[in-house]
């Protein structure tokens, strides 16, 4: 958990509304685990006022990578940064995905919808390093929403793509594609990040097929460090359920603990 006020933007790639940043930030990169996130200050201006949470797309000792979609003012300002510009980021934050030793040799399905693909590259790399056999399911509304297909393929991942409109890969929701594959070959675990409706469907699919699953949740965040109680989601614990802070106890939760509202 470092404040890196002077992280140099090394390189920018973009595909329409989607942007990939490579950022020099050794202290953040060194500590990062898959599923964690950073809080990025987009501007010195007080509007937008708050930092924006972005998943860690990849990390090494030199820094981190980010992958984001322009969703509004904050990500819009961010998208106009140029290589050489400085970013002010805090991270790594939150608890990531569980990459257990027990996964060695086993299949793991990684399901990303749209910008939700962001943390799954880093996760896939970690799984492969741990000896698991990751397969990535990457869905979007249309072909333009899944720009990272090449990157995943080049990195040697088993990749299944889908588009809602059938413009690329499987035609239909990525959840249907995943269910087909679960039926064909049941994985040891499913990891997912994407819009709530997608994850809600996936939660019922994994429950139905009794596959353990972990989901990375989203919320508007005030602080990202557990201080404001702004980012809560309904989560079950031992005795009951309550509003749990995503930034601190998440953003990743086991499927069976999440109450979808």
């Amino acid at each position: 958990m470092t404040i890196e006020r002077n992280a140099r933007l090394r390189a920018v790639r973009s595909w329409g509304d989607y942007f990939h940043f490579s950022v020099e930030a050794p202290a953040v990169g060194r500590g990062a685990r898959p599923g964690q996130f950073v809080m990025v200050k987009v501007d010195d201006c007080t509007s937008p006022l708050l930092r924006r949470p972005l998943g860690i797309h990849d990390a090494d000792a030199g820094g981190i990578e980010l992958f984001f979609k322009v969703a509004g003012a904050g990500t819009g300002i961010l998208s106009r940064k140029k290589p050489g510009d400085r970013l002010d980021i805090i991270g790594p934050l939150g608890k990531g995905f569980t990459v257990g030793d027990g996964l060695k040799g086993k299949k793991a399905y990684l399901v990303g919808g749209g910008r939700g693909i962001a943390p799954l590259f880093f996760l896939g790399r970690a799984l492969a390093a741990a000896g698991a056999r990751p397969a990535v399911f990457y869905g979007g509304r249309t072909a333009a929403d899944i720009p990272l297909c090449d990157k995943f393929e080049q990195a040697g991942f088993e990749l299944h793509c889908s588009t809602d409109d059938g413009s690329f890969g499987f035609s239909g929701f990525v959840t249907a594609l995943v269910e087909n594959e679960i039926i064909r070959a049941k994985p040891a675990i499913v990891y997912a990040c994407g819009p709530d409706p997608m994850m809600k469907v996936l939660a019922s699919i994994t429950a139905k097929h009794a596959v353990p699953a972990e989901f990375s949740l989203e919320s508007i965040m005030g602080c990202g460090i557990g201080a404001c109680w702004g980012c809560v989601h309904r989560i079950k614990d031992g005795t009951g359920d309550g509003w749990v802070k995503i930034c601190e106890e998440g953003p990743v939760f086991p499927g069976e603990r999440i109450l979808w509202l």
Partner: protein, 310 residues
């Protein structure tokens, strides 16, 4: 001119409490303090006010709980928290060790609960003062709270002050016609200080769904957007009260904090700024120090209440 490292005396004396510097982290924006340990040295703060505590644990409001507005933030957390018993058992032992003022923000669904919280905390060690939160707009319908009327303010402050073994800072609401009148009621009831302002009752709508953007419909506006109104209120109150005023509302920089002192605040609280920069409160202390150095101000308390209007 060669300046030695520590030329400026930053300490301020509230009468009932001496702070090493005038900057407190504000309640609800600083968790229980410990969340910030990775980012700043808690002992460099004048002190901090922990998140508002009811007697028992509290659920808070349904999300969404936050929405950003131009230069502002509306929150409707609804005072989710662990309650005094868990606080005393799990948090206070860690806070007690810190050499800085720990202030507890005291809440209650009714007067009896405020009294019960204070009664319980009075039996714990390591608390410098209570901040009586009579002004949270997020818990009752449309922002109703004791701080909206001089009568309810007076009655509650009087009761709690009589019962408490510790100093009472009464935290006022800005959602009133005359903040001076409410502050005076608190003073007459015996409060040791007043803190202002809490958040402004506000709302935001999602045009596409036509739903309120907050689960609670209404919330409280904080941040730089409110600073000009908060500063006005601090100025109005400080010139009329004998007890010290703790000022807040949109403080982001040392200059903002110094403006509140000039307007008459004896100390300030830093709220939303800690979300933007977890180390904001400590940065503000050092910005104040540097300003005093550069302006030949030997003790920061000299600038309190020095607005020139003639």
């Amino acid at each position: 001119m060669a300046l030695t490292a520590k030329t400026v005396d930053l300490s301020v004396d509230l009468g009932f409490l001496t702070l090493k510097n005038p900057v407190l982290a504000a309640s609800g924006t600083f968790g229980y303090g410990l969340e910030f340990e990775p980012y700043l040295d808690l002992e460099k703060l004048g002190g901090f006010v922990v998140k508002g505590l009811y007697y028992g644990p509290r659920e808070g409001n349904p999300p969404p709980r936050l929405v950003e507005t131009p230069s502002g933030l509306i929150n409707a957390i609804g005072l989710q928290g662990i309650g005094v018993e868990a606080f005393a058992a799990k948090v206070l032992p860690k806070l007690r060790r810190l050499r800085t003022a720990v202030i507890v923000n005291v809440c209650g669904a009714d007067d009896d609960e405020y009294a019960a919280v204070v009664d319980f905390l009075d039996r714990q060690e390591g608390i410098a003062a209570y901040e009586l939160n009579i002004s949270c707009p997020n818990v009752k319908t449309e922002g109703l709270c004791p701080a909206l009327s001089p009568r309810t303010t007076f009655d509650l402050v009087k009761r709690i002050k009589a019962a408490s073994r510790r100093p009472i800072i009464t935290k006022l609401s800005p959602n009133v016609t005359s903040i001076v009148e409410i502050a005076q009621a608190a003073e007459e009831a015996g409060t040791d200080a007043v803190a202002l302002v809490n958040t402004f009752l506000a709302m935001a709508l999602d045009l596409e769904t036509r739903r309120p953007k907050l689960g609670n419909v209404f919330g409280g506006l904080s941040g730089p957007a409110i600073k000009p109104i908060a500063l006005r209120m601090v100025y109005q109150v400080a010139s009329r009260l004998k007890v010290p005023v703790i000022g807040m509302g949109g403080i982001m920089t040392g200059a903002d904090a110094l403006e509140f002192l000039v307007a008459g605040a004896a100390a300030v609280e830093v709220g939303t700024a800690s979300f933007v920069d977890p180390d904001a409160a400590v940065r503000i202390v050092s910005e104040m120090e540097r300003w005093c150095e550069a302006h030949g101000v030997a003790a920061v308390r000299e600038i309190v209440g020095t607005v020139k209007t003639a």
